[in-house]
């Protein structure tokens, strides 16, 4: 029946967390039409957070992180095939094998890939790894088990720090080279990054900050690296953890608003075209998306968060099979977690959307705290270290735009709880590696010229 949103053809491009959850949610929403999921990796959807933690520690194998299905979405899975383009007018997804998949509605959930080392010859040295896929993790875990002399980790973001933590837990020597003044500074700002730096050094990490790696050495096999301060690191394994690149190249000719910072969409996950006009049959979800969030000034957010992939996929799926007035916005408060060096770090809100912070509970010295971030006098984020159960309270403050600093009276209240200090978050223009959160409202990717189709 034409116009019946519960029927028809839906194609999902991207077979990871967001793609799977969207497929499941479409069926839960009552979609009975044909469903095709395209993925460039040969595997069914799998979970990535364990790849930099349990897998590197040898507690789980790389091929054991398959995502459980809540229910079989009864989809046609096209795995190991890359999508190469979209024809919006003909409503077709083009595949690398020459096939084209017609759709009535399309969901793009192509996510990100590891940012590669810029010099391909150096990147090809044996012993140089990235960490994004199951194969990456399996290979790196195997190399760690073999007992290298030293591991060099390039980039002190969450992935780099988790890798360094796993190495130390396995008793391996590790050097972390970070361009910023401390690890995690890009996601959490200056104050907590000091704690991160202290934890790394306390756990025996050779932490080099304010440096970049200028060259990887080796003749066939990686042997070490040159740093921008003139020093060298001798190591036999190197992990490039410079963040992620959004998988948007295949959409270059599509006419969608797709650029290096992701594919722009509205609050209902509907993609914009290159002229800023919203589409009604192309939806976006997960790491590859860029969407406006009312709690953060409607700036376009890109989140590489597990939770965002799930929540946005569910909203996108809902909106794909419901008419306009019944559609709903993706308003979830961003959140993410990490475990490293024995610490459990959890975040809600957007720490980089801040001008000041206070340590509301606990302390840096106790290695247990709740740090609250504010922007122009209201609470916009909170990060806990080994205090995860406090997070719900701060989430509520963010949701209700509560005044910053948070009210007095909390248990384990820090002496510094009233002393708001600058949050020292980085200018997104200067980020050294892929951001956990990019606020991109005021950073147009490129100038567009209106072209009349011929």
């Amino acid at each position: 029946m034409p116009g019946d949103l519960k029927d028809g053809r839906i194609v999902i491009v991207g077979a990871s967390l967001a793609g799977l959850r969207a497929a499941e949610a479409l069926r839960e929403e009552g979609f009975t039409g044909s469903l095709t999921v395209v993925g460039d990796e040969p595997h069914p959807p799998y979970d990535r957070p364990p790849l930099s933690k349990q897998v590197l520690l040898g507690q789980a194998t790389a091929d054991s992180t398959g995502l459980p299905m809540r229910q079989d979405p009864n989809a046609d899975w096209r795995l190991g095939v890359r999508a190469t383009g979209v024809d919006l007018l003909a409503k077709q997804v083009l595949l690398e094998d020459g096939e084209s998949l017609p759709y009535d509605r399309l969901l793009i959930a192509t996510g990100t890939r590891a940012r590669p080392w810029p010099n391909p010859a150096e990147a090809a040295l044996d012993g140089v790894f990235a960490l994004r896929t199951r194969e990456d993790a399996g290979g790196l875990a195997q190399r760690l088990t073999a007992g290298p002399e030293r591991v060099l980790v390039i980039g002190g973001g969450f992935t780099g720090s988790e890798i360094a933590s796993a190495c130390r837990e396995r008793g391996l020597e590790v050097t972390v080279a970070e361009r910023g003044p401390a690890p995690l500074v890009g996601a959490l700002g200056g104050t907590l990054s000091k704690l991160a730096a202290a934890m790394q050094r306390n756990h025996g990490v050779d932490l080099r900050t304010g440096v970049t790696v200028t060259a990887l050495n080796g003749n066939g096999s990686f042997t070490g690296a040159e740093l921008s301060d003139g020093s060298r690191v001798d190591a036999d394994v190197c992990v490039v953890a410079l963040g992620a690149v959004r998988n948007v190249e295949w959409l270059a000719e599509s006419g969608l608003a797709a650029g290096p910072r992701g594919i722009a969409c509205d609050a209902g996950c509907r993609a914009f075209n290159m002229y800023g006009i919203v589409t009604d049959d192309v939806f976006v979800a997960g790491d590859v998306s860029r969407f406006p969030h009312p709690l953060f000034g409607y700036q376009m957010l890109s989140l590489e968060h597990w939770g965002n992939a799930v929540e946005q996929a569910e909203v996108a799926a809902h909106n794909m099979v419901n008419p306009g007035p019944l559609q709903r916005p993706h308003l979830a408060v961003p959140s993410f977690w990490s475990t490293q060096f024995g610490l459990n770090i959890k975040s809600v809100g957007v720490p980089t959307y801040s001008d000041h912070v206070v340590i509301a509970q606990g302390s840096l010295e106790a290695r247990r705290l709740a740090m609250v971030y504010g922007y122009q006098g209201r609470v916009t984020a909170a990060v806990t270290v080994d205090m995860a159960k406090a997070l719900d309270y701060y989430r509520h403050l963010i949701e209700t735009a509560a005044p910053f600093p948070p009210p007095p009276g909390a248990q384990d209240r820090a002496v510094a709880a009233d002393l708001a200090i600058p949050s020292d978050v980085p200018d997104p223009k200067g980020l050294s590696h892929g951001p956990t959160v990019a606020l991109t409202g005021y950073l147009p990717d490129r100038r567009l010229t209106l072209v009349q189709p011929g």
């Binding site: 509970q361 606990g362 106790a366 247990r368 709740a370 159960k389 406090a390 719900d392 309270y393 509520h396 009210p407 007095p408 009276g409 909390a410 248990q411 384990d412 209240r413």
Partner: protein, 399 residues
């Protein structure tokens, strides 16, 4: 009737068999209901959850200034302490109990627990009358917690007497002479603590694989407990480790015998058991109320509650709030999105929840084959005195 006496009516023993209409009355009276004695009663789901997560709410009875403060001489267990002391003690207890330091501890007991339930249920022949509480729901968790901690079976009775005294003093309500009750509790606390510390001492350097051994042989000096804290922690673990589970199991049997359709459903499909246990924790939870005290004046749903005031969170009411759960008074083991507050929430979230879940699952699983033809001898059964920790004192059934 006036809602400012709801707490008195809820704690009135006459209403023990069915407090749920009173909870409905409470929710209808508003999210925050001031009581005649100056305390506040809260029975709506969202307010309860928010307050359980609010770091300005103290669990420490010594934070209370109104109504009339009672003398608390003993330092409370971590169940009733605030951070950072609460965290230090809870964390020390958690190290030998759960993740990340002892991830397999609870799950590794599953087989032993299933075996125990089988042995207990073996003698339940058709035609017999049994007391579900005395013959099953009580002995199971007591044996489990004794083995977990490392207490010899022969001393179980000793522990039973101490426990009864301590639980009685933890109740709220006007009846009885509290001075005498508190004195008895003090003494029980002391004796039980001494016993446990001595038992633990015997395992220093000679660990026997139980939690007492792990606690005295803790390798991390920062996580080691003083003698006083060791006593307080192990007493808490012992009591909390069985007291509520008894009620969970007994409430479960009672609920299923009252709902033969749901009982049949479970007998046909025992894979529903884990979800049935969650539904029991929502529908007939062992813990009905918890007390909290705001450290400063706080605003709850438009009402300012002054700092130092007793606030009673009616968890059992919250888990039946129609604003949160559809058809909350229906027992439905397949209920989706069952985020009950049966184990509380926030920093005091039930420490023993994973163990309680396994015990309840195993217990009901072992009883299911016997319940098809069973009937309640007495409905409602006689209840225990305690209004906060609610459950049948006896549950006679005819097999």
């Amino acid at each position: 009737m006036a809602s400012d006496t709801l707490l008195a009516r809820i704690t009135d023993y006459a209403n023990r068999p069915d407090p749920y209409p009173l909870y409905a009355e409470l929710r209808e009276a508003g999210p925050v209901v001031r009581q005649a004695d100056g305390s506040y009663l809260i029975g709506t789901y969202h307010e309860i959850v928010a307050l359980l997560h609010d770091p300005r709410m103290s669990a420490d009875p010594r934070s209370r200034t109104a109504p009339a403060p009672y003398e608390v001489t003993r330092k409370p267990s971590f169940l009733r302490l605030d951070d950072p002391e609460h965290h230090r003690l809870r964390n020390s207890a958690m190290r030998p109990f759960g993740p990340p330091h002892s991830p397999g501890r609870v799950d590794s007991m599953r087989g032993e627990i299933v075996q125990l339930t089988k042995e207990l249920a073996e003698v339940f022949q058709e035609g017999r009358q049994i007391d579900v509480v005395d013959d099953f729901a009580y002995p199971l968790p007591v044996t489990v917690i004794c083995r977990l901690l490392g207490i010899p079976d022969k001393d179980e009775q000793l522990f039973q007497d101490w426990t009864d005294t301590l639980v009685a003093s933890a109740d709220i309500g006007p009846e009885g002479d509290t001075a005498e009750r508190d004195q008895a509790a003090d003494q029980a606390q002391q004796e039980m603590g001494q016993y446990l510390v001595q038992l633990a001492e015997q395992r220093r350097g000679r660990p026997t694989g139980d939690m007492l051994s792990d606690l005295v042989n803790e390798p991390d000096p920062a996580a080691r407990l003083s003698e006083e804290d060791l006593a307080a922690n192990t007493i808490l673990l012992f009591i909390a480790g069985h007291e509520t589970t008894v009620n969970l199991i007994a409430n479960g049997v009672l609920t299923l015998l009252r709902r033969p359709d749901q009982l049949d459903r479970l007998r046909e499909d025992p894979s529903l058991l884990p979800r049935a246990v969650e539904e029991l924790l929502r529908y007939e939870p062992p813990v009905h109320m918890r007390e909290r005290v705001p450290l400063v004046d706080i605003d709850v749903a438009g009402t300012t509650i002054p700092g130092g005031t007793s606030v009673i969170l009616a968890l059992a009411s919250g888990s039946r709030d129609p604003m949160r759960f559809s058809e909350p008074d229906r027992f439905d083991p397949t209920r989706p999105d069952n985020q009950h507050v049966g184990f509380g929430s926030g920093i005091h979230l039930c420490f023993g929840a994973p163990l309680a879940r396994i015990e309840a699952e195993a217990a009901l699983g072992a009883l299911l084959p016997h319940l098809g033809t069973a009937r309640l001898v007495q409905d409602p059964p006689p209840y225990r005195q305690n209004a906060m920790l609610r459950g049948p004192r006896h549950l006679p059934i005819q097999l």
